[in-house]
Amino acid sequence: MVTLTLVLIAVLAIVNFLMFGALVELFRDVRQLRDIVGVLDRPLHLGIGRVAGTAPSLYGLPGALDSANSAVVLFLSDKCSTCRTLAASLEGRSLPLGLWVIVEAATENAAQAFVETLGLNTQQADGRVLVDVDGAIASRIGLDTTPVGFQITNGRVVEATTVPSVRYFQSIVPTPIQLKPALVA
């Protein structure tokens, strides 16, 4: 009886193994199809060359970033649809700590219109939503695509990736960990 049970377990496990293999292939097929359509939640890493390891303020970004332990600078453009989706995800709530948004537009008015339409003007007050008229900051960095997130670690630019979705965007926003207030006896 024990032997028969063990045989059954072995056979069922092998059947499972084969079926799991087929399932993995199915997932790969789906991914391949999504890749063809271009709907993969896959950020592309940008080669940032000389920018890597430099201070953000060198390119006109806020000086506060030079002393940030962990931050993300998100470049959005008023002409890009994904940028609108990303900006809309921030509407009506305070900007996450460690996130800076640079809005690129051809003119000051266009940038302000983008900021106001998407409700970013309320967050603009603390200086973490900036307007980059005519891509002045972007051109100093050598950036010609949006939306792009720059990772800042210990005050230095570490890497940059495209931000294909809100889902990915939310995953790269740093979550600052702060010490609890000391208990005074």
């Binding site: 072995a10 496990a13 799991f20 997932f27 709907v39 979705s165 889902r167």
Partner: protein
């Protein structure tokens, strides 16, 4: 020590069982590799034979690891794969290995040559130490453990793939709104 020998034979058995079952699941993959090596005729039959031998040796390593035929078979199979790798390298052929199924992108070559060393080493250890399971039940227990381990590893792959697919699906919902 016998436990270590059992673990070794089970690991070898698991490797061969994985390879054999995956080849059975997509026999065309190994047949294509055989064709790419220049053996045009009977590639499918040879592929089936290789898969069957792998599975038979996997079972042999569980139930009769001390048997000379099993040890010789494993050594010959490893040598055959090494020779295939050497042949691919020597002739400059780019042959997709399909050693563990058609999902990988590994090519036949140096890896098979290097793999010969641990395979022969393991066979030598079995030759010197292996005694085999005390009873049929113990053998089936080992087989069940090996099969469950294979299924477990595969299940982990399924979970990983499903997480990726879920991420793609969630992001696709928003991406489809702005795609041209």
């Amino acid at each position: 020590m016998p436990a270590a020998i059992d673990a070794l034979s089970m690991a070898m058995s698991g490797t061969l069982l994985w390879a054999g079952l995956e080849k059975c699941r997509n026999i065309e993959g190994i047949a294509a590799a055989i064709r790419d090596l220049g053996i045009g005729t009977q590639a499918l039959a040879i592929g089936l034979l290789v898969a069957a031998v792998e599975i038979a040796l996997a079972l042999g390593l569980i139930f009769a690891p001390a048997a000379t035929a099993v040890q010789l078979g494993v050594a010959l199979l490893a040598a055959l794969f090494a020779a295939s790798g050497a042949w691919a390298l020597a002739t400059g052929r780019l042959v997709r290995c399909n050693c563990f199924g058609s999902t990988g992108n590994q090519r036949l070559g140096a890896a098979q040559l290097w793999a010969l060393i641990p395979w022969l080493g393991a066979v030598a250890i079995l030759h010197a130490q292996a005694s085999g399971p005390a009873s049929a039940s113990e053998g089936f227990l080992q087989l069940a453990i090996v099969a469950l381990a294979l299924a477990g590893v595969r299940a982990a792959g399924v979970v990983q793939a499903s997480h990726g697919a879920r991420g793609d699906r969630l992001s696709a919902t928003e991406m489809l709104k702005w795609l041209p």
